[in-house]
Structures are given as structure tokens and as C-alpha cells.
């Protein structure tokens, strides 16, 4: 897969794993408010960032995502009170570890977007898309499909 991917005509494919209560609603608000943002993200909705198995991130990378974004409620605003605080620890470790084994740091990005931050959601997607575009197509950990 990575062999056939060239930078020319290539568009970053980004998987965004977002929580139902904040970031997903934030994305909705961005849509309702007709705020423009790059169409490079595929959103996966989960109940809470605390529900995200770090394996989801790794799996997305293996299946050919050029970048993975994880976003939830701001600390203190979690629908389930502490889900995102637990997740924050997991992701701090995950981000460090993925970069330690030699993946580019900007392939995995973590952030918070609340339900009222449609504008911020658009900014995040713009920012992430630019970062991933700068890195080029993913070629590490990507499973080649015969």
C-alpha cells in the first residue's frame, strides 16, 4: 500500500476518534454553523475517550491511516466525570511510546474540543491536516495488502 502511495495527488487520510458528548457535538456544531474544514478526516464516534483502547490508534495506523486524532471533553467536563482524565494518562504514555519506537510524533495527536467549540473543531482539523500533510504518506507500520 505504501509503495503505491506517492505524494503527488495524495491527500492525507486521518482517522478521528472522538467522544460522543463533546467533540462529536463540536463537530456537529461546526457543520450546523457551516464552518469550512478540510475533508480529510473520518470520524469514529465512541462514548468517551476513556473507552478508547490504545489499540484503536495503533490499528488505524496499521490499516493505513496517515494520522490519528483523538479528541474528547476538556478535563473536568467529562460526561462520565473522569473518563478523559484516565484517558489522558494512557495517551501521554502512548504518544511517548510511539515516538520512542520511531513513529513521527505528529502522526498521533490528542486534543480536547467541547460541544460549544465548533470553531475550535475546524481549527483542530485544519491544524492536524497540515501537520500530517507535511509528514507525507504513512509508511511505517502500514500493512501491505497484497
Amino acid at each position: 500500500m505504501s509503495e503505491t502511495k506517492t505524494t503527488e495527488g495524495w491527500e492525507p487520510k486521518i482517522v478521528a476518534i472522538v467522544c460522543n458528548w463533546c467533540t462529536y457535538a463540536g463537530a456537529d456544531l461546526a457543520g450546523i454553523s457551516r464552518i469550512q474544514y478540510p475533508p480529510n478526516v473520518r470520524i469514529v464516534r465512541v462514548p468517551c475517550t476513556g473507552r478508547i483502547n490504545p489499540f484503536y490508534v495503533v490499528k488505524a495506523l496499521q490499516e493505513g491511516a496517515d494520522g490519528v486524532l483523538v479528541s474528547g471533553c476538556h478535563p473536568g467536563e467529562c460526561h462520565y466525570i473522569t473518563g478523559n482524565l484516565h484517558a489522558r494518562r494512557k495517551f501521554a504514555m502512548l504518544k511517548n511510546f510511539l515516538s520512542y519506537i520511531g513513529l513521527e510524533e505528529d502522526r498521533t495527536i490528542f486534543t480536547w474540543v467541547s460541544a460549544s467549540e465548533g470553531e475550535r473543531f475546524a481549527q483542530v482539523i485544519k491544524g492536524v491536516t497540515e501537520k500530517v500533510r507535511a509528514l507525507g504518506p504513512a509508511n511505517k507500520l502500514v500493512k501491505k495488502i497484497a
Binding site: 490504545p54 489499540f55 495503533v58 490499528k59 496499521q62 478535563p75 473536568g76 473522569t82 482524565l85 484516565h86 489522558r88 494518562r89 494512557k90 495517551f91 501521554a92 504514555m93 502512548l94 504518544k95 511517548n96 511510546f97 515516538s99 520512542y100 519506537i101 520511531g102 513513529l103 513521527e104 495527536i109 490528542f110 486534543t111 480536547w112 475550535r120 481549527q123 483542530v124 485544519k126 491544524g127 492536524v128 511505517k140 507500520l141 502500514v142 500493512k143 501491505k144
Partner: protein, 335 residues
């Protein structure tokens, strides 16, 4: 050492004779020179078989978990009033007791299910290092005398400094004495060299991204996925491991190199706050994969970020089971 061994046998015999434990998990002499095998002793007379020396490699906490959980499973079909309790005695050095602390924190069994015979530890011999020292020759006879290892091979006798063949994790071990124990044999051992614990990780961090990736892929490229590292790990006790799950199938079972990388990546990541650096995985790996390089990073980050060292104290919960409101979040993207 002989003294410790003698006392260990006495205590083990007493525990079994007084029926305070049903089984003692310890080490017995292996069939080859420089080996000791985990053993299960139920007859007080057999306590004589126990050994305690620099050839005791495996972390016995693995077997404590196995025996207790199998026993609990076997009691499920027994009427509650007929259920039997089984108490496991174990020879516990530093890293084994850390694993037991972890099991207790993770509510795998109760403190009363296990009797820990604490032993001071001065590290074990890494078979791979020893093989290098003697040029890969077959060991015919061998013994450890003080800080010298005497080896006899076909081409003659050789004396090696013990320190040169101790396992890496032992050289920098921070907790070489039991964290918890019911009976302590002998005096606490002198500390190893924990100040240089993270030297290797630090050096690796300073390499470039590409160099690190090249190392990771090179090491994981050796892996044949025999899963010996998982089998021996006291922290790997899931009834169904993700590598064998089929709904969903997390990781492919073919020879694809990324599947191996992903398997390793996730197994390593399951050790966040749970690796006690006993070195068992590296010791059993038939391919010599440098697992410790990556596990030690998780240990370092766990300490740097959350001040936690796996199993180092009953009062320090596993870092991913808890949180602080002011946990570091400088990695959070802010456009």
C-alpha cells in the same frame, strides 16, 4: 548462599509440615549446568530439593497466579460449604514480590492466599552473556564461587567475573530485596546499581527517529511469535490474550512483518505501570529480541510522569488505574 539455602529448606519444610501452605513454589537444580528450574513441592521431605543461587532466572509470581487461579476455577463447581482453600508458598526475591504486589493490587487473589518466603537477591546469570564469554561452547560443568563463575568446557576451564555475566536488569535493579514477605531468610542484600537504570533508554531517546525505527523493526524482525515472552510474564495473565482473540481479530497471525510489530507494540504497551523488570521475557526469548529496551522506556515514563514504579509499594496504585487533576498535558494539541 549455602546458609540461605539451608534456612530456606528448613522454613519450607516447616510450612509444609505444619500445613500452613499446600504447595511451595521454588527452584530446584536444573538438568544442565547453570540452570535452575521452577518446582512445586508438596511433600515436606522434598523441601531438600530447593535451591537458591545465581541460576534462578524465572519470576515465580507467574506460577503463583497460575496455581491460585486454576484452583479457584476448580472450586467453582464445588458446593460453597465444600470448597477448599489453597495457600501457596513462594520463594520471593525482589522482582517476584513486586509482581505479587501488582497481582494483589489488580485483585487477582488475596494476601492470605500466598505465603512469601523472602530471599535477598544479588542477581542471576544471563545465559546469553555467558555463552558469549565462552565462545558459544557447551558448558560441561560450572559453579559460582563468590564473585567468580567457574566454567568447564571442552577447551578447558575458565573463570569469569560474575558481574560480567549478570543479566542487565539485575545489574541496575532497584528492588533486589522483597517488597513484602511473611518470612525473611537472611539479611537484606546490598543494593545493586539503580542510578544507571535508565542509561540505555536515555541513549536510545537521543537517536534520530529513523534510527529508532530501524532498531525497532530490526529487533521485531527477529521475532518468530512463539509467545514465550508472554507465557513467562507474570503480568500477562489474561484468560484470552488479544493475539488469540478472533472476534474481533486484533492482529493477523500470518508472517506479515507489521503484524509482528503490532503484536509487540501492544504487548509492550500492556506493560505500562506493570513491568517489574524481572527480565524473564528477555531470558526466555529464543531469538534474542531486545524487549527490555522498550519495556524500560515505559518504566521510565511511568516514573517521570506519574511517579510510579510497578509493584514497588502496596500503597502506590497502578498508574493507569488512577489519575490526578493536574497530570501533565503538554502533549495536548492546541491549534
Amino acid at each position: 548462599m549455602e546458609n540461605i539455602e539451608k534456612k530456606l529448606r528448613e522454613e519450607a519444610k516447616l510450612l509444609l509440615a505444619e500445613k500452613r501452605v499446600d504447595v511451595i513454589i521454588g527452584y530446584e537444580k536444573g538438568t544442565l549446568p547453570f540452570t535452575a528450574t521452577p518446582c512445586f513441592i508438596t511433600d515436606p521431605e522434598n523441601a531438600e530439593k530447593l535451591v537458591w543461587n545465581a541460576c534462578c532466572v524465572q519470576n515465580l509470581a507467574k506460577f503463583v497466579h497460575d496455581v491460585i487461579s486454576q484452583h479457584k476455577e476448580s472450586q467453582k463447581r464445588v458446593k460453597p460449604e465444600d470448597r477448599k482453600k489453597k495457600v501457596v508458598g513462594v520463594v520471593g526475591r525482589g522482582c517476584a514480590t513486586r509482581s505479587i504486589v501488582l497481582h494483589l493490587q489488580e485483585k487477582q487473589y488475596d494476601r492470605g492466599d500466598v505465603v512469601i518466603i523472602g530471599v535477598p537477591c544479588t542477581g542471576y546469570i544471563d545465559g546469553k552473556k555467558l555463552a558469549v564469554q565462552i565462545g558459544g561452547e557447551e558448558v560441561l560443568e560450572g559453579s559460582v564461587e563468590g564473585d567468580q563463575v567457574k566454567v568447564k568446557t571442552a577447551s578447558g576451564e575458565k573463570s569469569i567475573t560474575l558481574k560480567d555475566v549478570l543479566a542487565d536488569n539485575c545489574l541496575t535493579c532497584r528492588f533486589n530485596n522483597p517488597i513484602i514477605s511473611d518470612i525473611m531468610i537472611g539479611e537484606n542484600a546490598p543494593p545493586m546499581d539503580p542510578d544507571h537504570e535508565y542509561d540505555e533508554v536515555g541513549a536510545f531517546e537521543n537517536l534520530s527517529t529513523e534510527e529508532r525505527w530501524a532498531y525497532f523493526t530490526k529487533e521485531m524482525g527477529k521475532c518468530i511469535r512463539c509467545y514465550a515472552c508472554r507465557q513467562v510474564c507474570p503480568s500477562c495473565y489474561c484468560k484470552v490474550c488479544f493475539v488469540e482473540q478472533s472476534q474481533p481479530r486484533w492482529v493477523g497471525i500470518g508472517a506479515d512483518e507489521t503484524d509482528t510489530q503490532v503484536f509487540q507494540l501492544m504487548r509492550l504497551f500492556h506493560m505500562v505501570g506493570r513491568c517489574v523488570d524481572c527480565g524473564s521475557c528477555s531470558a526466555v526469548c529464543p531469538m534474542g529480541v531486545d524487549l527490555r529496551k522498550f519495556l524500560k522506556k515505559l518504566d521510565k515514563d511511568g516514573f517521570d510522569l506519574f511517579g510510579n514504579r510497578a509493584g514497588s509499594s502496596m500503597d502506590d496504585p497502578p498508574p493507569l488505574s488512577t489519575y490526578k487533576e493536574n497530570d501533565k498535558q503538554d502533549f495536548i494539541f492546541d491549534p
